[in-house]
Every structure is written in structure tokens, then in C-alpha cells.
């Protein structure tokens, strides 16, 4: 594929701007000339370039995308249409001019409170990890105000890497708690680790193995007795809608991923949104700003510090609210029901030929190990071969506690036929691994490009076109 720079020739114009009359008041020594590295390309070429690039992408709209803990569900189109009503307000406009925008914040906060049973939400966090940071500093704010200097956050070994990274960013030391043979937090090890230096436990529920942490209430009570808090990573909330209220589990803080559970598109890695909900006693310690209503007008009020500019990834919030409003409570309940049904069904179809990492019952996702094929092909080989069958592979090599892990989350937006076809493809690859392992090891064969050399990319990093020109002479 050509890069945009390779279409450039002097005199081409992709967008016309009339010369503005007038003068500059910036001294000459502070001005720069045209930026030589930027291309000159016509609109016609820009459009065909990015169109050609686009068709090299796999996407949810194209097909099955069973990335575990990523919840790659279908992104409803009406949500995009609705978001287009809300693109042009400046964030610093006087509040009385933007009451429609503020009402959306308010309605989404109310909806998330209803869904989780928690007391207050901030919609500001820009992504899940940003929510984790926000939630943990909320706990820290509370503790510090109560004269407590705790320094540890406990995190199970099955947790997503953002959990320990966020705890560290919030100034805590992350201490790992091992999983037991059922794939849940090892309760004894947890009790051993729990002391007056622990600020919180970050739990993902269901965890990244798809297993519901059955002792969560007991864990919460132990934490509370020790003066610590229970943080829940809500990445896997798609399993629980309408089934449980998170507040009933003893959770003090949760972040939700609107780009997972609430159907907003992932955009190739973002934007996301990671609202944080808390119990009543933590509400005053949430970063701001928050909405306040008086005389029928919604206004912003400062909170405890700030975690980003303005108020959040607003367009993501609109889309999530549209989704919640369309489905309603009953529709959301059905989402989780079918998400779990699809996952359990697919697990059943695969468990004859593949090894399920833990025998425990799972909810919306499950994890396979490489035990039944590792002597012939690797997990990576299998993933790459799935591409040839037209499927995006599951999350691979995560969670870290499962050897050669394949983490499968089908979501509710896939048909039984798709699940059956995916299971057939998985089995077919196992057969190929017996009969013709080369075709698997050299996969993919039908993708726009062949298997990419990631080692070389890291050894001699070329991160810009300028660098490429320099190194290629």
C-alpha cells in the first residue's frame, strides 16, 4: 500500500481556502514556513487512499469478533444518527444555552445508578483505565481525609494489566493475589494479604476467566471490616445486566465501559468512556465537575479535583444513553441473558476438542488453554488461521495465568449459525494441525497482508514517514 505522502506533488489541493487579507503581528523570528513534511494531495486522492485503507480492516460490522473481555457487540446505527444532533456546542458556553446537553449527562447518570444500584456517578473518565484511576483516587481522597495512610491495593492475578498500572498511578503499591483451582480469588491468600495497610481490592466480576466471584460478598465484608474498599472493574458487566445490582455485591466503586457493555463503537482503540459509580459515603470524594439542579436549570459544580478537561467523552455518552433508552430495563436484561447463553453454548461446542482452562461454570466468556494442540501449533498460529476462515480471533495469551490462553466472548449480537460456523472453523484448524500443520503455521494466507514481522519492527523502530525516508536513503 502506498502512503499518503507518496501521492504528493506540488500544486495539488485537497481543500480550498481563500487567501485572507490582512497582516501578521507575530515577529518574523517566531514564524515558521510551510511544513515541508506535509503532503499536497487532491481530495479525490485523499478519499481513495483512505477508502482503500479502510477495506483492509476487519470490523464488528463485518463479522464475528469474539475478543474476550472486550465485548465487541454490534454498534447500533441509530445511535450515530442521534449523536449527530449534538456535535456543535462549545464546552464553555453558558449553561443556560446547553440545557439539552446537560440533560443527557443527567439522564445517563440516573440510568447507570438504576442499573448498578450505586449512589453517584461521574461520567468524565475517557476510558476504562481512566475510570480505574478516578475510582482509586476517590478512595484515596476519602482515606487521606480520614487521616489514613494506606499504601497497598490488592489485585488478583487474573486481572487486566490496567488494574495494577492504575493503582500505581494513584500512588499505591499493587500486590497480586493468586487464583485458586476454581479460577476465583484464593480466599485464604486474600485474608493473609488483608491488613490495615490495604486501601482496596480491585476485582473484576465476572473475572477474566468468565467466572463469577462467588465469594464477593464475603470478600467485601472482610474489606469493610478492615477499613478498606471494594473496587469492581466493570469491564464484564455485559454478563450481569438485570441479574444483580452491583451495590448488593458490596461493591463501593465501579467503572463501567460504555464502549463495551453499552454498545458504543471502539473506533480501532477508542474513544471509549469509563463512568465511575460510588456508594454514598464516597460521593463527596469523586473528582468533578458534577451537575447540580436549581430553579429548573442544570449547572456544573466543582468536585474533588479534576481528571481531564471539560466534562467527558460526550458523544460516547449520547450513544450509550440512546442504547439504554431503546432497550429499556427488559431489553438490557435480555442482553446479558443471551450473552451468557451464546457463550455457554459456544463453550459446550468447543469443550470436546479443546481444554477449558478451569472447569468452573462460566458466564459471558470462557478461556481455552493450548493443552490439546500445543505440541503441533501455537495459540498464535491458531489465531492467525482463524483469519483465513473469516473470523477475528479471540483475545490470545490472556489471562496470563492460562498457558497459551484463548479468551472467547461471543456477545449477544451473534446468531446461533455464526457460533456453529466459528466452532466448525476451530475444529477444522485442529484437524489441519494434525494433517498439514504448515498451512496453520504460515497463516494467514487470505488477508490483505501476510504475517507481520513484529520483532523487526521493535528492533529497528520506524515510527514516522520522516524516519523511513532517512533510513531508506
Amino acid at each position: 500500500m502506498k502512503l499518503i505522502f507518496e501521492y504528493s506533488r506540488p500544486g495539488k489541493e485537497g481543500f480550498h481556502i481563500e487567501e485572507e487579507k490582512g497582516r501578521e503581528t507575530i515577529p518574523q523570528e517566531l514564524l515558521r514556513g510551510e511544513i515541508e513534511e506535509l503532503p499536497e494531495v487532491s481530495e479525490r486522492e485523499v478519499v481513495s487512499h483512505y477508502l482503500r485503507l479502510s477495506v483492509m480492516n476487519y470490523s464488528v460490522d463485518w463479522g464475528f469478533y469474539p475478543l474476550g473481555s472486550c465485548t465487541m457487540k454490534y454498534n447500533p446505527k441509530v445511535n450515530e444518527a442521534i449523536a449527530s444532533y449534538f456535535t456543535d456546542a462549545h464546552p464553555l458556553l453558558p449553561e443556560e444555552l446547553v440545557q439539552g446537553y446537560l440533560k443527557i449527562f443527567k439522564e445517563l447518570e440516573e440510568a447507570l445508578r438504576e442499573i448498578t444500584g450505586l449512589y453517584a456517578f461521574t461520567l468524565a473518565p475517557s476510558a476504562g483505565a481512566h475510570g480505574e484511576f478516578t475510582g482509586i483516587i476517590t478512595i484515596r481522597n476519602y482515606l487521606e481525609d480520614h487521616g489514613e495512610k494506606r499504601e497497598i491495593v490488592l489485585i488478583p492475578d487474573s486481572a487486566h494489566g490496567t488494574n495494577p498500572a492504575s493503582a500505581t498511578l494513584a500512588g499505591y503499591r499493587a500486590v497480586e493475589i493468586p487464583s485458586d483451582d476454581k479460577g476465583m480469588i484464593d480466599l485464604d491468600k486474600f485474608k493473609e494479604a488483608l491488613n490495615e495497610r490495604v486501601a482496596a481490592l480491585m476485582i473484576t466480576n465476572p473475572n477474566t476467566l468468565g467466572i463469577f466471584e462467588a465469594k464477593i460478598r464475603e470478600i467485601a465484608d472482610l474489606l469493610h471490616k478492615a477499613g478498606a474498599f471494594l473496587y469492581m472493574d466493570g469491564a464484564n458487566m455485559n454478563a450481569l445486566l438485570g441479574q444483580v445490582k452491583v451495590a448488593d455485591l458490596g461493591v463501593d466503586v465501579i467503572h463501567l465501559n460504555l464502549h463495551k457493555t453499552f454498545s458504543t463503537p471502539h473506533g480501532g482503540g477508542g474513544p471509549g468512556s469509563g463512568p465511575v459509580g460510588v456508594v454514598e459515603k464516597l460521593a463527596p470524594y469523586l473528582p468533578g465537575p458534577h451537575l447540580e439542579e436549581g430553579e429548573g436549570i442544570l449547572r456544573w459544580k466543582n468536585g474533588r479535583g479534576r481528571i481531564r478537561s471539560f466534562f467527558g467523552n460526550f458523544l460516547v455518552l449520547v450513544k450509550a444513553l440512546a442504547y439504554i433508552r431503546e432497550l429499556g430495563g427488559e431489553g438490557l436484561r435480555e442482553v446479558s441473558e443471551v450473552a451468557v447463553l451464546n457463550s455457554r453454548y459456544l463453550r459446550r461446542k468447543l469443550e470436546g476438542k479443546f481444554k477449558i482452562a478451569y472447569p468452573t461454570e462460566t458466564l459471558h466468556e470462557f478461556v481455552l488453554s493450548d493443552e490439546t494442540f500445543r505440541d503441533r501449533i501455537s495459540t498464535l498460529d491458531l489465531a492467525k488461521r482463524l483469519l483465513d476462515y473469516g473470523f477475528h480471533p479471540p483475545t490470545i495469551y490472556f489471562p496470563l495465568i492460562v498457558h497459551g490462553a484463548l479468551m472467547v466472548e461471543p456477545t449477544e449480537t451473534e446468531s446461533k449459525e455464526t457460533l456453529d460456523e466459528f466452532a466448525s472453523a476451530m475444529e477444522k484448524i485442529l484437524e489441519e494441525a494434525e494433517e498439514n500443520p504448515e498451512i496453520v503455521k504460515t497463516a494467514p494466507h487470505k488477508t490483505p497482508v501476510g504475517r507481520l514481522n513484529e520483532v523487526e519492527a521493535a528492533r529497528r523502530p520506524i515510527l514516522t514517514w520522516q524516519e523511513y525516508l532517512k533510513t531508506s536513503g
Binding site: N57, A89, A165, P265, G267, N313, L463
Partner: protein, 444 residues
């Protein structure tokens, strides 16, 4: 049954049978009975698409700014977005994939992101740029954290850095036990170099470029002071278009150029999603936060792109990662790549020049009308004007004339309570500017 769920009631029955379950409630039997079954969500559905749109259309009608002439910037800018940007960016192939972990089916996102990185490196005059941060304030905070990984010490920040960015910096740094020193501005609105010179044990100094008053700082002098101290220069730019006209941070030996790229193809959207940019020098690449796309070859010896140097990131290094960032603003970066491709070398500079000249035009008219510009230093497309009375009240009175006259500075800078920050882009016509000045004159 929801239109987004392609599983029929008959399918459900078959699947439950295959699982040996009597009913769907048994799917959740791994949840302890005392916690289960209490999750009912009381929200009424709006099942018909037309009615759903109607509902949100009604909400949007509560907004009352469409008929106003708006001269607001201060971190978010109203620029024209060419039609081709939306047309391309909203393709499902760009909008609905996940992070490109499988590069063989993600070359679209990866290639466009590589182009974005190249553009941001060029715009900032730096050697490398990452694939995006959340927005300008967190990008700036991450820059401070990175500086501390390079050199321990204090972080100093210009008091003319965006007030919200300073608040975010405080949130991020206080948890690390790092002290933030504020360096005041001089009478001309630029950083007080003498005060900067007094700070010892400095890791890095963060300065807005242009600063919150729209002023182009004297980076050459700042840079030479920092060099003597062995401290790093971090610039933060929230009007990224300015970098198409003024000398980039890279020319002043900046270690990190961070900021907000909303100006380059993203709608105002009441504050987000926006796009944090983050650029630095090659020697610091392993200290960088965020994703990076690199060039490589595939098994057919063809050029291709992958996520690279990921051993810096949380999914590999966990608590020792350079940042906790995972989901970022990838789609926004693709928009910026498309936008800059369209405007190109000539268009981007021309547009920046238009913005500056409109602001100069407005400043001229205001001076003629007897208003005082608070600061004498050069500005890009926004500046501070003293209106001789409480600026908030002044703005309220102009609102009655359907004008939003910028941002009153008193809340963030009590000493500037009579000052407005006025912003002018290509979207503010000369006629509108004339009207603004006329109405301002009427109140004065």
C-alpha cells in the same frame, strides 16, 4: 426481542437443551442465590427507532446557542471540518474495529495511525509522536510523569497554562508525591523568567504554547534557562492549528510537546471525544506512554504496520508500565490524519494565517473602539481584552444581543476579573467581528 439480538426464541430453546438447562435463569446459577434475581432495571424502552430519534431531538431543542455569534476558544476551537472527513471516518471499517492487535486485518487503522504520528511529529518539530492520549490535559499530565522518569525533581508549571490542565496535573502528580511550583506571568503576559530561574532541583517546566492568554511564549529564553538547570522543557498546546504558523517546540529543544488536537478535524461536541497528542525525541521513546505504530515487513516482504515497543505498556508490564492507558482516542487520530491530508502543506498554513489575521483584525477594531488589550505580547488567534468592568457581567449583557463574547477570566485569575479571552477562527466572519465590536462599544 431486540433487533440487535439475532437469536430466535426457538434457537434459545435449542441452545438451552444442548446445555441441559431447563430455563434461562439456570444460566446464572453460578451467582449465589442470595445475590441473584434482584437486578431488575426500571427503565422504560423506546422501541421504535423514529420515536427514539424524536426523544433526542426534543432534548436537543433545549439547546439555545444556534442563533448566537460565538467567540469562544480557551481549549476548544470551532473550525470548519471538510465533508470528506466525516464521510471517510464514519466508515464501519474505521469506526467499529477494536485495537489493531491482529495487524493482518488492521492495516487500515495502523497505516492511518502511522500517518497521524508522522503528521504530529512534523507539526511539533519532534522526532516521534504516539498514537494518541485521551485529551490535552491528561496528555500534559503524562508528559510530566514521563519527565520524572527521565529526571527526578520538582515540576514547575506556568500559571498561564490552561487552568483545567493545571488542575489535572495536580490530580495526577499529588498522588505521586510530587510538588508543583507555579511560575507567574509578567505584565506582558509571558512567563516570568526571573522567577523560573529561581527554582532549584527542577525536573521539567511546563508552558502553554500559545498560553491561556493566547500569547506566543518566548521559548528560546525559557529553553536556555532550562538548559542551564539541566531541566526538561514540556510544551502544551491546546490550539494545535497554531503550530502550522509559529515555530514548533522542537526548534527550542523541547523534550516533550503535548497537547490537544481537537482543532484538526474534531467537532466541538461539548468537550469530547477530543484527542491528546504526545510527541518527543527518539532517545526517550522507551519512556513514552501510549501506543506506537511502527513500520515493518510481512511474510511476503511487503511493507506493513504493527503496534510496537509494547513492552512499555500495561498489558505487558502491568504495574511497571509507563502509563495505565489502554483504550485511547484512535478513531479521533484517524480523523486528524484525514483532515491534515486534505489541508496539506499549503492549506494548513493558510488556515492558520487566516485565524491569526482575523484575530489581528478584531484587535485593531477593538483598539479603535477604545478597548485596551491587556497584554502586549504576540498572539495567535485569541487575546485578552480589558473591558473596564466585571467581564462576566459584560458578557451577560452581550448575550442579550445574541453574542457569546469569549471567556471571562476572573474565575481562574481574580486579578483579571475585568478581562475577557476572545477567540477568532475562520468561522467568525469579518462582519460578525464588526458586529461584536460595535455591540461591545455600546456597553462600554
Amino acid at each position: 426481542m431486540s433487533r440487535y439480538i439475532p437469536v430466535t426464541p426457538q434457537d434459545k430453546e435449542e441452545m438451552l437443551r444442548a446445555l441441559g438447562l431447563a430455563g434461562p435463569e439456570e444460566l446464572f446459577s453460578s451467582i449465589p442465590a442470595k445475590l441473584r434475581g434482584k437486578g431488575e432495571i426500571r427503565i422504560e424502552p423506546i422501541k421504535e427507532e423514529g420515536k427514539l430519534k424524536e426523544y433526542f431531538l426534543r432534548l436537543s431543542e433545549r439547546n439555545k446557542f444556534k442563533d448566537k455569534k460565538i467567540f469562544l476558544g480557551a481549549g476548544a476551537y470551532n473550525h470548519y471540518i471538510p465533508a470528506a472527513v466525516d464521510y471517510l471516518a464514519f466508515r464501519s471499517e474505521f469506526l467499529t474495529p477494536y485495537t489493531p492487535y491482529q495487524p493482518e486485518v488492521s492495516q487500515g487503522t495502523l497505516t492511518a495511525t502511522f500517518e497521524y504520528q508522522s503528521y504530529m511529529a512534523a507539526l511539533t518539530g519532534m522526532e516521534v509522536a504516539n498514537a494518541s492520549m485521551y485529551e490535552g490535559a491528561t496528555a500534559t499530565a503524562e508528559a510530566a510523569l514521563m519527565a520524572l522518569r527521565i529526571r527526578r525533581g520538582n515540576i514547575a508549571v506556568a500559571s498561564s497554562l490552561h487552568p483545567q490542565y493545571r488542575q489535572v496535573l495536580r490530580t495526577y502528580l499529588e498522588k505521586q508525591g510530587v510538588e508543583i511550583r507555579e511560575v507567574p506571568y509578567r505584565q506582558d503576559g509571558r512567563v516570568n523568567l526571573e522567577e523560573l530561574g529561581k527554582i532549584d532541583n527542577l525536573s521539567a517546566f511546563i508552558v502553554g504554547y500559545p498560553n491561556f492568554f493566547g500569547i506566543i511564549e518566548d521559548l528560546a529564553s525559557i529553553s536556555s534557562i532550562l538548559k542551564q538547570k539541566g531541566a526538561l522543557l514540556i510544551t502544551s498546546t491546546w490550539e494545535a492549528l497554531s503550530l502550522a504558523l509559529i515555530k514548533p517546540p522542537g526548534e527550542f529543544s523541547a523534550a516533550i510537546a503535548a497537547g490537544e488536537a481537537q482543532s484538526l478535524g474534531l467537532p466541538l461536541a461539548y468537550g469530547g471525544p477530543y484527542l491528546g497528542f504526545f510527541a518527543t525525541m527518539k532517545k526517550y521513546v522507551w519512556k513514552m506512554p501510549g501506543r506506537l505504530v511502527g513500520m515493518t515487513k510481512d511474510s511476503r516482504e511487503e511493507r506493513g504496520f504493527v503496534l510496537t515497543l509494547s513492552a512499555r505498556e500495561q498489558h505487558i508490564r502491568r504495574q511497571r508500565a509507563t502509563s495505565n492507558i489502554c483504550s485511547n482516542e484512535a478513531w479521533c487520530a484517524i480523523r486528524v490524519a484525514i483532515y491534515i491530508s486534505l489541508l496539506g502543506k499549503k492549506g494548513l498554513r493558510k488556515l492558520a494565517l487566516t485565524n491569526h489575521r482575523r484575530a489581528v483584525y478584531a484587535a485593531g477594531l477593538l483598539k479603535e473602539a477604545g478597548f485596551t488589550l491587556k497584554f502586549s505580547s504576540p498572539f495567535f488567534n485569541e487575546f485578552v481584552v480589558d473591558v473596564g468592568m466585571d467581564a462576566g457581567k459584560f458578557r451577560d449583557r452581550l448575550l442579550e444581543k445574541a453574542i457569546v463574547a469569549g471567556y471571562p477570566l476572573g474565575k481562574d485569575y481574580p486579578e483579571l476579573k475585568n478581562c475577557l479571552l476572545l477567540t477568532f477562527t475562520e468561522m467568525n466572519s469579518r462582519k460578525d467581528i464588526e458586529e461584536l465590536v460595535k455591540e461591545m462599544e455600546g456597553i462600554k
